[in-house]
């Protein structure tokens, strides 16, 4: 059994197989379903641990299936894939626990967990993809598998939201496919190689390469919620909280951002992209998205919609980091992939807790919730402060590297104001929420108290995930310079990308 070849397949299979089995379970086989879920998640975690160790020691893991001459399905583990795989695995474990608690006594749980597991498999698959073709396959799979999750509740709004989601993402997927095929015609199979593979192409291809870049970015940008392709995101908020958490922190939106990072660094190469003059355009699109998302978030009373627009804004930090030439900007963008994931998932978990426990869906209903649910609200506060960029939560570290990278690349004149305006806007839409939660007195009754106050403020499966991820967010910032932190790993990625 050749580990090098089979490890990656096992990583994908560890959620795929349980998922397929769960589909056929009866609704009430609660324990077997939980067992399969958790076993798969823990097994995947162990495998990823081995993977991290291996890649750190420059071991090569690759699986290759030849589908047709010149067309290979490749799973390959490099530093960037390992970063995303680890993030996905850890957050999937936490979200599984949360989903088990959230969907207690809900309908169609087998269907839900089946597609849930398939969703993680698709995410891990695209994280480990070794060339653009494999990436696109898993990317499309992700779209198809998340559609039933968005439409899970079956209500008219849910179905409508899912349909909008599907329209946008299939449209984007089509553009992505066209771009990939065009690139294949020009340059053959494009494997992901640190530093890019396209710089060796002759100069007459450059106009075409620019067009392809735009197509690819638009295709990926739909999932990554770049303005004006972000329209599906607020509508997808009808999904249950675990789905929103996973979609917005880990799977869909991150997959889009991850794809952008891959295209710029491992297909085109960051120096070549800069040569073609495309980095500035990407940076401007990212900057507009950052400001637009934050402005729109100010006017939302629905808590999940506010968090949705916040996601639109924050994920573009990754694109912004990508657009800043130089290792420090790269580090900032890539480490924000991890930091934003952890902080955003905490916020969505907390929002789900409020909805499940007290029936709170709007910010205006959150008066005094800090006294009723202190642990959840504390987790929410830590994550919110991180979003604003308050040290020592992780968000500060990302902003620091983005700012420093922009200064180093000579782009600070417009990147710094964007960072500052975004921080101020983040403060403007998060701090009032914190004020309401901690400083106002609660009304006569909560909208719909489903879970009464007992020893713990809500059920354990709902309480521990946000607490754990909030602690992780704090630790990622506090111990940023310690070994094995996300920052150290991002630095390693940047070093290998720039050949330092």
């Amino acid at each position: 059994m050749n580990w090098d070849t089979w490890l990656l397949v096992l990583v994908v299979a560890s959620s795929l197989l349980p998922g397929l089995v769960i589909f056929f379970l009866r609704e009430d086989s609660h324990r077997l379903r939980t067992l399969l879920n958790l076993a798969g998640a823990i097994f995947k975690l162990v495998l990823v641990g081995i993977l991290i160790w291996g890649v750190f020691h420059e071991h090569v893991y690759e699986t290759r299936w030849t589908l047709a001459p010149g067309l290979d399905l490749v799973l390959h583990a490099d530093t960037l894939s390992v970063l995303f795989v680890t993030l996905s695995t850890v957050l999937w474990l936490v979200t599984t626990v949360y989903a088990i608690g959230y969907l207690e006594n809900a309908a169609h749980r087998s269907r839900f967990f089946g597609f849930f597991s398939l969703c993680v498999s698709a995410t891990v698959g695209l994280a480990l993809a070794g060339n653009l073709f494999t990436f696109v396959i898993f990317f499309e799979l992700l779209t198809l598998v998340t559609y039933p999750l968005v439409a899970h509740r079956g209500t008219p709004e849910a179905v409508r939201g899912a349909r909008i989601y599907l329209t946008y993402t299939l449209g984007g997927g089509m553009l992505l496919l066209i771009g990939t095929v065009w690139l294949y015609v020009l340059a053959g199979p494009t494997a992901f190689v640190e530093g890019g593979v396209l710089s060796s192409l002759p100069a007459e291809y450059h106009p075409q390469l620019k067009m392809i870049f735009v197509l690819l970015i638009i295709g990926l940008g739909v999932k990554a919620a770049l303005v004006p392709l972000h329209g599906w995101l607020p509508h997808a908020m009808v999904a249950p909280a675990p789905v929103s958490a996973l979609l917005h922190a880990v799977a869909v939106v991150k997959a889009g951002a991850f794809g952008i990072v891959r295209v710029v660094y491992d297909v085109y190469g960051v120096n070549f992209t800069d040569q073609l003059g495309l980095l500035t355009g990407l940076g401007i699109a990212a900057a507009i998205t950052i400001v637009y998302g934050s402005v729109m978030a100010l006017f939302q009373d629905n808590l999940k919609k506010r968090l949705a627009y916040s996601t639109v804004s924050q994920v573009s930090y990754i694109a912004l980091g990508t657009a800043i030439l130089g290792p420090i900007g790269t580090i900032g963008g890539i480490v924000h992939l991890v930091h934003q994931g952890i902080m955003k998932i905490t916020l969505f978990f907390a929002a789900g807790n409020y909805a499940e426990t007290l029936g709170i869906h709007k910010v205006s209903e959150m008066n005094g919730v800090g006294r009723r649910m202190p642990a959840t609200t504390l987790a929410f506060s830590i994550a919110a402060l991180g979003m604003i960029g308050v040290p020592p939560v992780a968000g500060f570290v990302s902003k620091w590297y983005l700012g420093l990278g922009a200064l180093e690349a000579g782009m600070a004149a417009w990147v710094m104001p964007v960072l500052i305006i975004s921080s101020v806007l983040n403060a403007a839409y998060f701090l009032p929420v914190l004020y309401r939660a901690w400083f106002r007195d609660p009304g006569p009754a909560w909208p719909a108290e489903h879970i009464p106050a007992a020893r713990l403020e809500t059920s354990a499966a709902l309480l521990w995930p946000p607490v754990v991820t909030a602690i992780l967010a704090l630790a990622a910032g506090l111990f940023a310079s310690a070994p094995y932190s996300p920052l150290e790993w991002a630095t390693l990625i940047a070093e290998r990308e720039y050949g330092l």
Binding site: P228, L385, G403, I420
Partner: protein
């Protein structure tokens, strides 16, 4: 051992904040500032702790400036904790107050021992945000507005400081330690950002707008530490980030001198016009921060004398911190239970100390400052003397206002708070005798004496010449013109005030209306399900922001 103590300085308050929900927490929190005092007493100057794995690499240490800051901050936090333990009762709200109090303490003490820019910024931000909780503690509409205004200014300052420290890191190749940052002067733009960013904390005139209302609403122990210890963090920031002794910063020093003098004058005049003692003390703080700013400016403008001037400025800061903190605590006692004789005596003494009367710490601090100034600073000396005179008037008015307010009683005086306060007053009375020389203690006699004289005259005149017309004054030859004069002045003052209030109200209502209209329109657009308007909104925002960014980009080439 030293490492441990330096870590405890900020770790203990932070840890106690987590335990603030326990029953005897009110008294346990009193031990929180003790490591700071211990560090100031025991840890040798020059010790340092390096934690490269924390955040972006943290350096802690103690130098001479840091030691003085730890001493007066630690003492003030200790007395304020004792006071708060005695005086704050209502259960869950007391817990919330304690948590924010301890977090602010951790931030304040942490930034004093910080020896690199990021940990300084961490302490500064923590302190700034925690104070919001202290100001918003009383649940009134007024407190909410004051707290919101404070927060807006603080966040603006923190954003500017973030840009400044990132640019400093860039300038020094990623290094964060102050020893490296002080090796060469910062770029001009960075100096501007640092001055404004820390100037917001120090309430420079124009950047002070958050201060009066914040001091008016927060509970007394909170205001004491805000005006005593925390406002000085701005000064410490300048001391850490702006290395004196470099010719490039001389013009910035002169700018700071101007700003400082403006602060002195503005604070004094605005303070004299106040009718509430808390606001008066707030404007007095602005005036004294002007003195500190002028001192900092002098240090930058005359680099040869810089170290001496800075030493004097730090001593002045210590004196002001303790006296102002004690004044606010005493005022808190009066607001609760009226004017007891001990409290009155203490307040009179403190008022004299702030004014710089002979035999008080004020005289000592002032003479240190004047002695340190070099030959070319004659104008500054004159202004400092005038400031002493003005402060005496200010303090006389303060005592007058307190006397007028003596009847208001809300709840009985907790003995612990009174004792803590009296201890602080005793320390303030005694410490000058321990470290000052005789001639320093006799300084400042003339301005203070003149101030006392003028105040006494005004008081007598107010008593003698009635405000209302009586049968006596109707007939007398001098009575009527004087009465008319007074009425005219009073009418003019009232009209001026009315005009100012009307203009401000009009502006505020226009601002509110426009804000509401814009918000309504945007909410309408963002919530409309009509695809057309949504595209319109997205498109116009895209064009607008894109155009703006493009302009900046083009201008920056």
């Amino acid at each position: 051992m030293n490492t441990f103590i330096l870590l405890l300085v900020w770790l203990l308050p932070l840890a106690l904040a987590l335990l603030a929900g326990q029953r005897y927490a009110g008294w346990i929190t009193v031990i929180a500032p003790l490591p700071a005092l211990l560090a100031a007493a025991v840890v040798p100057v020059g010790s340092s702790v390096s934690l490269p794995w924390l955040l972006l690499g943290v350096e802690l240490g103690l130098d001479n400036t840091g030691r003085v800051f730890l001493l007066f901050s630690g003492l003030l936090w200790l007395v304020a904790s004792l006071y708060a333990a005695g005086s704050l009762a209502n259960e869950h709200k007391a817990m919330r107050f304690r948590i924010f109090f301890l977090l602010a303490m951790a931030g304040n003490l942490g930034l004093i021992v910080a020896q690199d820019s990021v940990s300084f910024y961490l302490g500064f931000t923590l302190m700034g945000l925690a104070v919001y909780g202290l100001i918003a503690h009383p649940a009134s509409q007024h407190a909410r507005r004051a707290a919101r205004r404070y927060l807006a200014w603080t966040i603006a300052g923190e954003m500017l400081l973030f840009v400044a420290i990132v640019m400093l890191a860039m300038q020094h190749g990623g290094a964060l330690a102050f020893t490296v940052l002080q090796s060469s002067p910062p770029a001009g733009f960075v100096v501007l950002l640092l001055i404004i960013g820390f100037g917001i904390k120090l309430a420079l005139p124009g950047l002070h707008l958050w201060l009066p209302q914040a001091y008016a609403v927060a509970p007394a122990p909170a205001v004491a530490v805000m005006s005593g210890a925390m406002i000085k963090a701005g000064l410490l920031g300048w001391l850490r980030f702006l290395p004196p002794g470099d010719a490039a910063l001389v013009s910035w020093g002169q700018a700071l001198l101007v700003a400082g003098v403006t602060g002195i004058c503005f604070g004094a005049i605005a303070g004299l016009l106040q009718r509430r003692p808390r606001l008066l003390l707030g404007y007095s703080s602005i005036s004294k921060m002007g003195v500190l700013t002028s001192g900092m400016g002098a240090a930058l403008a005359w680099p040869d004398a810089a170290s001496v001037i800075i030493g004097a400025v730090v001593i002045y800061a210590a004196h002001h911190a303790l006296v102002k903190g004690a004044l606010f605590l005493g005022l808190g006692l009066v607001e609760r239970d009226g004017l007891h004789p001990w409290v009155l005596a203490g307040l009179v003494f403190l008022a004299l100390a702030l004014a710089g009367a002979p035999l008080t710490s004020g005289a000592f601090a002032k003479s240190e400052l004047t002695a340190s100034l070099p030959q070319g600073a004659q104008n500054l000396l004159f202004i400092l003397a005038t400031s002493a005179f003005a402060t005496t008037l200010l303090m006389a008015r303060f005592l007058f206002l307190v006397w007028k307010q003596r009847g208001s009683k809300t709840s009985p005086l907790p003995t612990e708070s009174l004792i803590a306060w009296l201890m602080l007053v005793a320390i303030i009375a005694i410490f000058p005798f321990a470290i000052a020389e005789a001639d320093q203690l006799m300084a400042n006699m003339v301005p203070v004496f003149l101030g006392v004289l003028l105040s006494a005259l005004v008081l007598l005149a107010a008593r003698r010449l009635p405000m209302r017309a009586t049968s006596r004054t109707h007939g007398s030859a001098t009575g009527r013109p004087v009465l008319r004069c007074r009425h005219t002045i009073r009418d003019l003052a009232r009209r001026g005030e009315l005009a100012f209030v009307t203009v401000r109200a009009t502006f505020n209502s226009w601002y509110e209306r426009t804000q509401q209209a814009v918000a309504q329109r945007l909410i309408q657009l963002s919530r409309s399900s009509d695809v057309g308007t949504r595209w319109q909104l997205a498109g116009s925002l895209w064009l607008g922001i894109g155009g703006l960014l493009l302009t900046v980009f083009i201008l920056s080439i």
